[in-house]
Assembly symmetry: C2
Homo-oligomer: 327 residues x 2
């Protein structure tokens, strides 16, 4: 090869490299935020808190769960919670009741557990059978043992920016944002879904004042839900620096909706059957593969908000144990 040929080959090579790098810079891929990894951090903190409590002579934290009926998903969730509790050095117990249980029996059981000083945290796995008033059950749990944060006084405190038991899924989203270093002050946050256990408390945490007793995110928060027409949802999503999908609609959030570089947090857990294999798998509310290429941060399903939610139940239980009277 002569000198000119060498130059041509070299230039072609250089061009290829430049094109490839340009491609790379455009083929932006989001940081996938591992909830499993973040949950591990929280587990370590909880373990250390438990060790301190026990070293101080306090009782080892104990989580009691009341589980009604045979719902498969509920049984899985409860097992995950008690298994994690045991891994972190917390004791736990699950009380099973058939779906025929009366509301009266439930209230008696809760009352007994409220008065039992060996129990730090108490949760009643939802949903409950139709003949039981869920609100009455949530309000029966002593607010200071209410590790789900569903008691009306805990909801009131949450909405008034007071220190309280924050519902675990909302707390999980908050911790993911905080620990990933995603900025919220003055940013636009779109919360899709307005459930009282997830969407509403997330909106409360993120819009409120960072200088209040329970610090908030100081973000501009958009509360969207099933009544928001799709074109309007798209329009609002395109303005959002953070999208929190908690609607329970598989793949509701698509790539065309999301702003380049946005943080996308997927709270959805939808059980879908593969039309070909017939197997069930969990999918989120976000079209993960497509959105990943456009977003700045994204949480996967499974392995995102799920493990963090369990970690926050553990954290709430230790908080309850810390606040318990020592007499």
């Amino acid at each position: 090869m002569d000198y000119n040929g060498l130059i041509i080959v070299f230039m072609c090579l250089a061009r290829c490299i430049v094109t490839y790098m340009l491609c790379l810079s455009h083929r932006h891929v989001a940081t996938v935020v591992s909830g499993t990894e973040l949950a591990r951090q929280i587990h370590k903190e909880v373990q250390s808190d438990i060790a301190k409590l026990v070293a101080q002579g306090s009782r080892r934290p104990h989580l009691s769960v009341i589980l009604v009926g045979d719902d498969h998903a509920s049984h899985t969730y409860v097992r995950n919670k008690t298994r994690t509790a045991s891994l972190l050095g917390m004791s736990s117990s699950t009380i099973f009741r058939p779906s025929s249980v009366s509301q009266e029996e439930m209230l008696e059981l809760i009352d007994k557990f409220n008065r039992d000083r060996s129990i730090s945290g108490l949760l009643v796995q939802l949903p409950l059978p139709e003949h039981i008033n869920e609100r009455a059950i949530c309000n029966a749990v002593a607010p200071e043992k209410d590790v789900d944060g569903f008691h009306i006084v805990n909801i009131g405190k949450l909405c008034l920016d007071q220190r309280c038991m924050v519902p675990a899924t909302a707390a999980a989203v908050w911790e993911i944002i905080r620990r990933t270093g995603i900025e919220t002050v003055g940013k636009n946050v779109l919360v899709v879904g307005r459930s009282k256990n997830v969407g509403m408390p997330i909106a409360m945490l993120l819009h409120s004042d960072r200088n209040h007793e329970r610090p908030g995110g100081d973000a501009t928060v958009i509360m969207a839900h099933r009544c928001t027409p799709l074109p309007r949802l798209k329009e609002l999503a395109s303005l959002a620096d953070i999208v929190i999908a908690a609607a329970g609609v598989p793949h509701l959030i698509t790539a065309d909706m999301v702003k380049e570089g946005a943080a996308v947090i997927d709270v959805g857990i939808n059980r879908m059957q593969d039309p070909v294999t017939g197997k069930h798998r969990l999918v989120g509310d976000v079209d993960f593969e497509a959105v990943k290429v456009k977003a700045g941060f994204i949480t996967p399903v499974p392995g995102g908000v799920g493990p963090m939610t369990i970690a926050m139940v553990m954290k709430n239980t230790v908080t309850a144990a810390k606040n318990a009277p020592t007499y």
Copy 2:
């Protein structure tokens, strides 16, 4: 004048008329929603409710107000409330305390009034002196007599879409929207201001489900506040079908922000001194004259949300009287 001349004059005239009509159709002016007028409607309903209660042999509703210190605006507000109560056939009493009053004395007073069956509704005029914990005072008022809707259980119920005492200003905004026939389902509502007594409860009412125990507006709600940068506020306002200004910033909402035909509800009451005359006057958070030309509906200040807020305190007091035990 010959025939041709007549035709020219006629055509000129016709052109003038068409131009004027076109002008008129573009010089759109909003419907000014009179809060005073709507409040009169509510007064009539309250009067009729009181008459029914008394006819049934129930006690005449009674509103008790505790007023601390010498704040001029607070004294005016309280006088407006007790005067309206008396006009509607309700009895009322105002208990004055100096700003040196102790929290303990306040709590004792509230406790006494809570137990007094002749009192239907009880409110403590805010703000209170710094040495008194407002939250402790609000939570001391019996929830069923809490006509301001500030007790934590009433806030919790509001946020859970349960029937409750709705804070009067939020209830006033709700009634203005409802009675004016402004559609909310699937609409974009921008709430500017996130105070716990006004902005937050308005957002709660408007975003929630119309089929719940306490029906909501089913709107997509944007919660903006002092941390929302002005360009972002403008961007979001331009998408809003309803703008609710509750920031306490004079003339924050300008005509360039508002979408043509939007409903603009002004909750702001700002006391401003005229730089020329030196006189004080009340102005809202909305640049009324300029926005009026662009909006579809607009509430004035004064004469908008203000009189409706007082009407809603009256309505809450009658509700409290209706729900009071009859033993």
